[in-house]
Symmetry: C2
Subunit: 344 residues, 2 copies
DNA sequence: TAGAGCCTGGACAACGTTGTCAACTCTGGG
DNA sequence: CCCAGAGTTGACAACGTTGTCCAGGCTCTA
């Protein structure tokens, strides 16, 4: 059949009514064809299909959602879409969503609790079926009406604040403890810790791991060896340099996350004497630096996948108490942690 | 006022009607309060607000969208959310969207034209106001009804196929030409080119730049020095090793994108003799490898920002012919390109 | 040939919101 | 005391879809 010239009306799209009129059938018949429902003769179906292509019709999902209740979409609030640690997590969530036929809406909180809240609630207004949140704030009571109303919610990477909900975490404490123990095992006695801001759960957990390892080895911790704060390069650089040049200089550094590690590598590369380093989070090419950077690796993709699967299980109707899942970390030894201390 | 216990009904959220009933006002008055419209006495407003918090009401944006026509959301189809090159682009688009009060829906095409199409059309069904697409396929006529119906569309990183639309690109040809010329200037005569799959526009453009630089220097190109294909490490590794060990081994490599560069760095690090390298796309820590990797850098964030700004300009009603914007690249010299050829 | 049952198709209400418009209340002036 | 005008408020339709339900035509059987 020759396709007649499409009759688009700008900003005024054809609806099922238009298609029905053109095909000379009823409204519901068009709906049936569009949704592949049974009960339409092949001939009628073809007439409808022709009308659809001729008019350039596309179903309006807003109306559909309004009618059906479910939106087949989930929202993801993370810290920074562009962070190399969160990007794979994002992708993993997307894959799981796709496998369940859902779309993904996402946004970066930039560590701002207000922005996190704003994003999460905007997603709720869109009536996403579920939410995955990497918390920036530490009070998530604002989500209670939403959760009660049926929006499944899973927190990742950091626990929710003041709210019972599913959480998927990495073992920050254990990972940091093992990483620091590795440095201790190689003879280091004065080890610095540079981490993220103290209100971030993973930052304090890792610091706790650091203290645990030091304590277990009977090593005192000079408070000038500990620095928490923003991961901006300038801040980290200043902190590292202070530790390396202070009155009681450290011989090794433990970096609290991937952003810190990257800056630490730069500082150490420029340092007068070799400094051992272990970083939390693996990163691309870590093995090609010299020495290769020893890291405590967490599996960001698995974190995302686990959270998303948990979310969809809830959406599928599984009812159980909120659970806390903790994924193990893995120490990847590459050399930078094995440097002997410059002095005993 | 004491807050009465919330009366959430699971899966059956309160609507404006419920709020109106509880506050003892009309439906429209609730709407006015929710949207901050004028013409409501402070007393009435407070009654409504109380009812809202008591019921845990949140406006249903699906219904709102249906009624208003505009969705205040845009869709972004990219190749891979987790790719370190696209992640900043993604973030930049998000920032611009946010500045315009729009949400971002996104998805990865994984270089699959069908998946690109599926995602883009799903976004259209959601009635996004605009689309930003990093094309995987080379035929975008499927979008014509959508564009005609008013969905603004901008293509980024690669041009649209068979459709007139705004495009924002990096200067792949010029960048590759300059990068290769840099190698030539350092005495290299036999230079390999490893790029992405031939159906990808940027891949062929960069190859064209390579050929142009070689031609301009009067250097013949042995076809065994050119390899296009998937950027999977195995494929790139095999290609690089073949070029380094072949009958006419190359003394330098030009890597067609960030994925290729990373693998090339690994191969070269393990090679018997030094091999010069220039890569397209900058990457983190490129300066800390030894030697530092010389790259042709494109500004992914700027690419995304430019595209998004263009999109919103169209959404603001600016009418003009589709335009092609080409952003310059920048050669960042770090050392790996300056290695002399092993032999003349 | 009548009756039962199936298949196809369509009329209509409902989802939750916003725009239109009319009605109402209150103030102040004549 | 009435009226104009301003300021509030609410009734109602509409947005585009889907679920429910019924009508009409057909086939099949007795």
């Amino acid at each position: 059949m020759a396709q007649t010239s499409p009759q688009y009306r700008y900003g005024n799209r054809p609806t099922m009514k238009d298609v029905a009129a053109r095909a000379g059938v009823g409204l519901k018949t068009v709906s049936r064809v569009v949704n592949g429902e049974p009960g339409v003769t092949p001939d009628t179906e073809r007439r409808v299909q022709d009308a659809i292509t001729a008019l350039g019709f596309r179903r309006n999902d807003s109306a559909r959602i309004l009618r059906k209740g479910r939106t087949a979409s989930i929202g993801l609030v993370l810290e920074d879409l562009a962070d190399p640690f969160y990007a794979p997590l994002n992708r993993a969530v997307e894959e799981v969503a796709r496998a369940h036929g859902a779309l993904l809406i996402n946004g970066s909180s930039a560590e701002d609790p207000d922005r996190e809240r704003e994003l999460a609630l905007a997603f709720c207004a869109r009536r996403v079926d579920g939410l995955i949140i990497i918390p920036a704030g530490d009070d998530h009571r604002y989500l209670e009406p939403e959760i009660a109303a049926g929006i499944a919610t899973v927190f990742v990477d950091r626990p929710a604040g003041r709210t019972a909900a599913d959480v998927v975490l990495s073992d920050s404490f254990g990972g940091a403890r093992d990483g620091v123990a590795h440095l201790v095992a190689h003879g280091h006695r004065r080890i610095g810790f540079i981490g993220d801001q103290p209100h971030i759960h993973t930052a304090t957990e890792r610091l706790r791991g650091y203290r645990a390892a030091m304590g277990a080895a009977g090593l005192p911790v000079d408070e000038s060896w500990v620095s928490l704060g923003p991961t901006a390069p300038e801040r980290v650089r200043a902190a590292a340099e202070a530790m390396l040049c202070g009155p009681r200089p450290v011989t090794a550094l433990f970096a609290g996350n991937n952003r810190v590690t990257v800056t630490a590598v730069r500082v150490i590369a420029a340092a007068a004497r070799p400094v051992a380093l272990v970083g939390f989070d693996d990163f691309e090419l870590a093995d090609l630096l010299s020495p290769g950077v020893t890291v405590v690796a967490q599996d960001a993709a698995r974190l995302g996948r686990t959270a998303a699967e948990r979310l969809f299980r809830r959406l599928d109707g599984v009812v159980e108490a909120p659970r806390r899942v903790e994924l193990p970390t893995r120490l990847i030894v590459r050399g930078s942690g094995e440097l002997p201390p410059a002095e005993s």
